[in-house]
Each structure stands twice: as C-alpha cells, then as structure tokens.
C-alpha cells in the first residue's frame, strides 16, 4: 500500500501548529504521535518518521505534530509547557480525525510525551494508549535535565577552551533550550499514572517491565539501538531496520485492538 508524508498545519487557538501527516491510501485507523520534549524531540524525529511510514504502509494514518513553541510550530520556546502541550494534543487529535473520519485512533506518547498522551487518553475516546519508554515521575526527569545541563556547561569536551561567561538570562535554560517557569513547575509535579483508571488498553514499549504502571495489554520489547538517543544531545545513528520492525509490531497491535 502506498503512503505519503506531507506537511500540514492547524490552529490551537493561539497560533499555528506544524505537523507531518502520513497518509495511507485508505486509512483503517489513525495514530497521533506525541513526541518527547526538548533535546529528545529532534534526536528522535527521524526514528518516528520511519515508524510512522511503516504504519501508513499498513493503512494506519499517522499525525506527528510539533507542540507550540517547539520544532516548526509557532511560538517561542519559552511558551512551551505541559498545559500548552495538552491543548496542542487536543487540537492535533481533532486535526487527525478531520483527515481520517470515523476510524479507531490510538495515541503514542514518547518519553515525556507520555505525560501529554496519558492525560489525553484519560479524557478522549481512544482505541489504545501506546507509551514508548514513558517517563513516570516529572520531578525525576527535571532533576535529570538539570544534571545533564550542568555536565554540558562544565564539559571541557564541549568547551575545550572554557565556556564564555554570560550575563544571567531572565529565564531558566535546560539542555540548551530556554524553559518557561510554567514548564518547570508543571514538570515538577507531573505523574504519569494519575488518571490511569480512565486509560484505554495500554501497550507498553520498553526494555523492561514498568512496575509503577497498570499492567499493559501488550508489551513490545525495544532493543538498545532504539533507545540510544535518550538523554543525549548529539545526533546518532537511526536504526532504520529496528524502527521498521517496531512499526510493524504496532500496526499488528492496532489491528487486534480494532
């Protein structure tokens, strides 16, 4: 089955969001991909473009939106927050449904994108919730970001001749990105399993079982090559064959759910 990846835009009430829509010839289902945050977004972009392509080849339409203030969407990086991402996810779900009509829709939340996906799944009618290496505890994630950022700023490898002293910025900056106070405070209290009783069937994509989450209907094991980009700052090799294989597993999973 042929599929096309095409750029699209839609409103979120505040500005214009950018997305890539993977359009199958005849969609039998849809998937909304909610990407990870900050540096993990560009690093994983190619991987999820490949996964989406496999799904679309199998008749599953995929929309990969960029949150407001991130990627190619409108807005400044400081305007990105969990609250804003939730609004964007709702707008993106509407945009996907507009394009594919009445077919089952699953949402895939990747890493910190799982916070947004799980909240959406708790309030929208979805066929499945797919979580890719989900972050469970926002405060722990925030601590990790602070640690990586401190290491990078002090790194003699990044700055062999030392980092230029800078005047203090009026906002926080983490892993190279300006971060608004709303993002920081939202992450500090974010918990993945808050509304888990209202989730649709869960498919967990991970390397190990997640004890802190409800039992998934299915677990898809990820290889280390598929998770090598996590927490990094530089682009690495994208394992195309492994991405295609996990895409096929997801397509099969949605066929069962539908």
């Amino acid at each position: 089955m042929n599929a096309r990846a095409e750029p699209c835009q839609f409103g979120n009430g505040r500005g214009t969001l950018f997305g890539v829509f993977h359009r199958p010839r005849e969609p039998r289902a849809g998937v909304l991909v909610l990407p990870p945050f900050l540096q993990e977004f560009p690093l994983s972009n190619r991987l999820f473009a490949l996964v989406a392509d496999v799904l679309a080849q199998d008749g599953i339409a995929v929309l990969r939106p960029h949150y407001y203030g991130t990627g190619d969407s409108d807005g400044h990086s400081l305007e990105f927050s969990l609250e804003q991402a939730a609004i964007d996810a709702t707008a993106a779900l509407g945009a996907l449904r507009e394009r594919i009509g009445v077919t089952p829709v699953a949402v895939l939340g990747v890493r910190a994108g799982a916070f947004v996906a799980s909240a959406l799944a708790a309030r929208a009618r979805l066929a499945a919730l797919w979580l890719w290496r989900p972050l469970v505890d926002g405060a722990a994630y925030l601590a990790d970001l602070h640690r990586i950022d401190a290491e990078e700023q002090a790194s003699r490898h990044r700055y062999p001749e030392g980092r230029r002293p800078h005047p203090p910025l009026p906002h926080e900056s983490l892993v190279g990105y300006p971060c608004g106070a709303e993002l920081i405070s939202g992450l500090a209290v974010a918990r993945l399993d808050r509304d888990s009783s209202r989730w649709p069937p869960l498919v967990l994509l991970d390397r190990v079982a997640q004890a802190r989450l409800p039992a998934p209907r299915q677990r898809i094991e990820l290889t280390s090559a598929l998770t090598a980009w996590e927490g990094k700052l530089e682009m690495g090799h994208v394992p195309a064959a492994a991405a295609r294989s996990v895409g096929s597993a997801l397509a099969a999973s949605l066929a069962v759910a539908a």
Binding site: N45, R46, S77, R158, Y159, R163, L233, M235
Partner: protein, 272 residues
C-alpha cells in the same frame, strides 16, 4: 556581541509550507512587509539534525532574517529528518532544484546558503557550482592542519586540567565524540580550496566564515589564512573565530550572537 535578537511581536514574518520537488518539502519564512529583499536564504541540515536546527537555531534565524526582509527556506535533505527517501543524486544538485522552486515562488534569483559543518561543506560545493549563489554562511567549514594548528594544540593542552585529561581518555575509550572531527570525504581536495576561494571572490561571492571552539581541527585563527591563502583578505570574506563557543551553539547567548552576526553581515554585504 551580546545583542539579543528578539522575535518581534506581532511577528514581522509569515510562514508557508512549500513542496520543494519530489517528496521534499520545507518551510518558507517571508517578510510581512512589501519590501522583501531579492536574496533568498536557504538553511541546510547540520549533519543529521532536522531542519529546525540545533536547539531550534534555524527556526529563530529564519524568523529573524525574515523580519529583516529576507525570505528564508528550511527543509530536510533526502534521508534526513522527515525526508524519507534517500538521495538518488548529489546533494548539490538537489539544492539547485530547490533554488528553481524558490525562484518561481519568491522571485529571488540570488541565494545565500549555508549552515554548520556538513551544511557549510555543501554550501561551498554549491557556491562553486551555481552562479545563483551570491553568498554562503560557512560555520566550521574546511580547515587544514597548518603550523597555526600546532600552536592551537599547545594552547588547548595548556587549558586542560587533570580532570579534562581524564575526560579525554574516557572519550577515547568510549568514542561518541561531540567535538566534531572532520569529515574529509566532504572537503575539497587538499590544496584546492585556495584557488576555489580566489575564484569565488573573483565572482563577487560574499562569504561568512565562522569557526567555533567545538571542532578538533580548527584550533587557531591563523589556520584560516593558512588554509585559504591571501584571498581571505578580500573585503567580501568575513571571518570570525569564537573559541569559547561550542560546535552546536548550546548556549542561548551564543545563538543570539550568531543570529545577530549573520543578520548584520547580510544587511551589510547583500542589502538588496
């Protein structure tokens, strides 16, 4: 330095999705005013980084330049980011096809292309191949290991603490280097870059060279003339060395300074 380029509110730019031939697509950021300039800027992928650029640098640069009157196009080359198909011809040819699309769309017949590292190498090849190229932004482009490089090595060795030596040793054993080593396959034949620069200067090409402290091959500003020869003294060659900035402009202030430097250079050298 330290001039903070702001994204103006309300925005002085507008964004448009643009098919760029075959499966390629990109985003064209245009000035909202009717006084659009006649030079279009094309930002190329930095390695395998998607078109938004490291830490969204290309998005901010595009908005800033559009607010200064320049149309700016960003897209993913084949095999990178959202461009799923791999290239079936040389990258320079693909970008020339994109120039054709942009000529029709914007009415601009002159282009400035460039970016970081592999983008700079591609922009160099484009500058040599396409007469529509009026300028190039070359960040961490080719540089040879001249005598000045050895001086730079000594200076870097002086900066290293025991902890840095330990870190270096660790990275040698665990080679996921973020300090960028040269991709020699993309560089011109050794020695050819001097004649190439002379030819480009002779053609009236405007060139913005910037070397950061984040590469393993450019360690001293003296390498610039050692690599490219006396044509580097031409007025159309702009050179900067930022030894305390990393290869991907991790610090927001470094990004601000880069955006402002490119904007000021464009307005000074290619004001039309």
């Amino acid at each position: 330095m330290n001039v903070r380029p702001r994204e103006r509110h309300p925005p002085h730019w507008q964004r448009e999705l643009l098919p760029a031939g075959g499966d390629l697509f990109g985003l064209l950021c245009r000035p909202l005013t009717s006084t659009s300039r006649r030079t279009c800027v094309v930002l190329l992928n930095a390695g395998f980084m998607p078109r938004s650029g490291p830490f969204r640098l290309h998005v901010r640069l595009a908005r800033h330049l559009a607010a200064r009157g320049y149309p700016v196009f960003r897209f993913d080359l084949p095999g990178i980011g959202d461009s799923l198909a791999y290239a079936d011809r040389p990258q320079a040819e693909i970008v020339q096809g994109v120039f054709d699309v942009l000529e029709r769309k914007t009415g601009c017949h002159r282009f400035v292309a460039g970016g970081i590292c592999s983008a700079a190498n591609l922009a160099w090849r484009l500058a040599l191949a396409d007469p529509r190229m009026a300028g190039a932004v070359l960040i961490d482009a080719v540089a040879r290991r001249t005598f000045a490089y050895r001086l730079g090595q000594l200076r870097r060795a002086r900066h290293k603490s025991w902890a840095a030596w330990r870190e270096r040793l660790g990275r040698l054993l665990r080679p996921d280097d973020s300090t960028v080593a040269a991709d020699l396959s993309e560089w011109p034949e050794p020695g050819s870059e001097r004649a190439q620069l002379e030819a480009l200067v002779g053609r009236g090409m405007e060139l913005f060279f910037l070397y950061t402290g984040g590469t393993s091959y450019f360690l001293h500003r003296g390498q610039f003339i050692g690599t490219f020869g006396h044509a580097t003294r031409a007025q159309s060659v702009h050179f900067e060395h930022w030894p305390r900035c990393d290869h991907l402009f991790y610090d927001e202030t470094d990004r601000d300074d880069l955006i402002e430097a490119i904007g000021a250079w464009l307005e000074d050298r290619l004001p039309d």
